[in-house]
């Protein structure tokens, strides 16, 4: 368990054990609600209508689209073909404008990202189409070259757009997620390693670890189950814990 989790978990447990409102307070509160509803005195506080639930996997699609936008901006700004060699890694995914139209039944108010709402949830690319043999990076040397090209900061004199570190980290992880979605697990692992080397104190260390574990599980690496258990023990409250459990079919209870 990570440091924050260790410190926080007892407090969360204690809150769960705390008694909550007294039964009489609950009843009194309902009586007031019912009386106000019958009188029609409803508050003016505005809230969004209920938002549709989304698959936990949709974030990957969102990040890939973010990469598409970043890639487009970088390409236009640099005005060169430097991105072309790394297109297999960081080029924007094909963008179909017709997919961005929200469905007619979608709420018009709540969703700040209507273009994303209409996108189909990306199918989880793991586990189904993978070979049974243990994971071996087939072409790790070329993968490293591709990764290096993809993440090397553009230091040319004509570079006019400097990404801040946050955006660069996000783009790198999005590259990793995109590789994972394509089924290129070796590349996803390389990118996770590259992130660790480039940003040892990066903002998204937990996301990097989740990417690595899910890629290992997707590739059916013999190291996968142990890595997943380590991740879940270290970060049981991680927002990626469910994805790791789903991808790796393990829990912290599994020996």
């Amino acid at each position: 368990m990570n440091r924050l989790g260790e410190l926080l978990q007892p407090l969360i447990d204690a809150e769960q054990r705390s008694p909550g409102p007294a039964p009489q307070a609950v009843t009194d509160c309902w009586d007031r609600i019912a009386a106000d509803v019958r009188r029609g005195s409803l508050p003016a506080i505005d809230v969004p209508p209920p938002a549709p639930s989304r698959s936990p996997l949709l974030w990957a699609t969102v990040i890939v689209l973010g990469v598409a936008l970043l890639g487009a901006v970088a390409y236009v700004s640099r005005g060169s073909n430097e991105l072309a060699p790394s297109a297999t890694i960081s080029a924007p995914a094909p963008f179909d404008p017709s997919r961005t139209a929200p469905p007619s039944s979608a709420p018009a108010v709540v969703d700040p990202q209507p273009a994303l709402q209409a996108l189909p949830v990306a199918p989880q690319p793991v586990l189904q189409a993978l070979p049974e043999e243990p994971f071996e990076p087939a072409d790790s040397a070329s993968s490293v070259k591709r990764v290096t090209r993809a993440i090397r900061p553009n230091r040319t004199a004509d570079a006019t757009v400097e990404e801040d570190t946050f955006a660069a980290e996000l783009r790198l992880l999005a590259d990793g997620q995109a590789a994972l979605n394509r089924g290129d697990h070796a590349l996803a692992l390389e990118i996770a390693d590259q992130y660790q080397k480039t940003y040892p104190d990066g903002h998204f260390r937990e996301e990097r670890d989740a990417l690595r574990v899910i890629a290992l599980c997707a590739a059916r690496s013999p190291k996968a189950a142990a890595a997943a258990r380590r991740f879940l023990r270290a970060a049981p409250n991680s927002i990626h814990a469910t994805r790791v459990r789903d991808a790796c079919a393990v829990s912290t209870d599994t020996p």
């Binding site: 924050l4 410190l7 926080l8 007892p10 407090l11 969360i12 447990d13 204690a14 809150e15 705390s18 909550g20 409102p21 307070a25 609950v26 009194d28 509160c29 309902w30 007031r32 609600i33 019912a34 106000d36 509803v37 019958r38 029609g40 005195s41 409803l42 508050p43 506080i45 505005d46 809230v47 969004p48 209508p49 209920p50 938002a51 549709p52 639930s53 989304r54 698959s55 936990p56 996997l57 949709l58 974030w59 969102v62 973010g66 709420p107 709540v110 969703d111 700040p112 990202q113 946050f166 996000l170 903002h203 998204f204 996301e207 409250n237 927002i239 990626h240 814990a241 469910t242 994805r243």
Partner: protein
């Protein structure tokens, strides 16, 4: 409102009032005001219930409403405080109180965060939502969720590290 809808509302209240109550406390609504805030949340539910199409989970919707109601209470409290006395440094927050029970200490820790970071932290660490779900509930972009979560973690971890050791031992009992 028809009796059938009122009955539906009551069923929702019975099922979710504890969830709403707990999250309003986490969101910084004071003990003396939390019953009023729960009341307001469910009046909003009554007003908007006809729009609920079961495409969202009821809890995510209730959290979104609770977040806005809590913000409304905070604004009222700030206006009242401005009338009565100058505001304290909002970043300082109360120090974790070793004499308080542990659930109060959790809420005190959460008060170290501003409204936006607090909501993201609660949803991620206490409600176990994914970044995508948090972005949906709060109407944020996913990078914003990650950014706020990182900052919130730093604040909470720093506060926990500064908390008296006996406070943490009490929590573990």
């Amino acid at each position: 409102m028809s009796p059938a809808v009122l009955a539906q509302l009551e069923a929702l209240y019975r099922e979710h009032h504890a969830y709403v109550w707990r999250n309003l406390q986490r969101l910084g609504v004071s003990e003396s005001q939390v019953a009023d805030a729960v009341h307001d949340v469910f009046l909003v539910v009554a007003r908007r219930l006809h729009e609920f199409e079961h495409r969202a989970t009821m809890r995510t919707w209730l959290f979104a409403i609770s977040f806005r109601v809590a913000q409304s209470f905070h604004r009222d409290r700030q206006r009242q405080a401005q009338r009565e006395q100058p505001l304290d440094d909002p970043d300082a927050g109360p120090a974790p109180d070793a004499s308080a029970d542990t659930s109060i200490m959790l809420h005190q820790l959460l008060q170290r965060l501003d409204d936006d970071k607090r909501a993201v932290f609660i949803l991620a660490h206490l409600e176990g939502m994914t970044a995508s779900e948090i972005a949906t509930v709060l109407g944020l972009k996913i990078p914003t969720v990650y950014s706020r979560l990182r900052l919130a973690r730093e604040v909470i971890e720093r506060a926990l590290n500064d908390a008296p050791a006996n406070t943490q031992r009490r929590a573990q009992r």
